[in-house]
Symmetry: C2
Subunit: 198 residues, 2 copies
């Protein structure tokens, strides 16, 4: 016997989710079958609500349910600092440290000649306008430390350098809790180059 | 910054799913945020459709979208064999072997004095009626091999024995691919007791 069609369909849809295989999808589907009706309905509704409500902040391209995201709306944020990230998830990772009180700019991706993604596909034009309009004093480039993130960083440095503002990049080095033994050579070299006086 | 409310709500709902923690729920929520609209809508709809369509088979209590499940509707199934399982998932596990051509009876649970689940909370009354009505020749008890499954099995044996039909239980022993070294003592003893002439 196969699964009833509606259950089989749900399992197929669940399998499309990242990291969810056949066994896991079956487990989730059976949970949703046995859960109280209001739980299944709440999940179903939450998916649609989220999709209909969330858009991009008109200024920084962070996730926003209104025209501007909560950070752009917050007058307590220092607009002289602009932290450039690839995605809203990276923004939230930095926010979770509670350390940064400046503003952000979300590129909505990285430069990737392989995938045909050029500067005009990202929000780089908007970034340049913001740096001019908002009297930015420091741009903190927080793209990922992979090949595409580094290439995007270099591109931004070349673009913004002529403006005479301070441009910084997140520190590279051994992660906290990490061991030298397990660190790759490039990271080790960067950790040496960036060594601090104690 | 916190997540936008609608995204936070979706993450909360995803976290209720079994085996989905905070990180995983975030990952799934962001996937659903970025996925094509039709994918998110299809998942949302599949949950509701499944809930509204699936009920219990009026005869064997398997999952069914119609009055009877596909197995009870299938005239090719031998009604002289009745395999008793705890849940539709167990039924599907047996079906997946392709070995069994009889019919099933789903108990919808197991006896559990601890949880206050007695015979009247399961479909045991229906099972007795079926054995009488359908001229069952053999009842194969396929409850799980844990304490509650074994207790339920004993109860059924005592109940059905007087009817003079054949009552069998799934074989217990070392699982295929399993090693004696890793098998527990009870399983080893059962494997010895149930040894076969080769």
């Amino acid at each position: 016997m196969r699964y009833p069609p509606s259950l089989a369909l749900l399992i197929e849809e669940l399998k499309r989710l990242p990291g969810i295989g056949q066994k896991n999808a079956q487990r989730l589907a059976f949970y949703l079958l046995k859960a109280p009706t209001e739980r299944a309905e709440a999940l179903s509704r939450a998916i649609l609500e989220m999709r209909s409500r969330i858009g991009s902040c008109a200024r920084c391209f962070n996730l926003a349910e209104e025209k501007l995201c909560p950070i752009c709306q917050d007058p307590g944020r220092q607009s002289s600092y602009l932290c450039v990230v690839e995605s809203p998830r990276d923004l939230m990772a930095i926010e979770s440290t509670g350390q940064y009180r400046g503003r952000y700019h979300v590129l909505t991706g990285v430069l990737s000649p392989m995938k045909g993604i050029g500067p005009e596909d990202l929000t780089i034009g908007d970034l340049v306008h913001r740096v001019d309009d908002e009297k930015t004093e420091e741009v903190i480039i927080a793209t990922n430390l992979d090949v595409e993130g580094e290439a995007t960083s270099s591109y931004l440095v070349n673009l913004l350098k002529p403006k005479g503002i301070r441009i910084t990049r997140l520190a590279r080095g051994i992660p906290v809790g990490g061991s030298l033994e397990n660190a790759d050579q490039v990271t080790l070299r960067m950790a040496l180059d960036g060594r601090n006086v104690v």
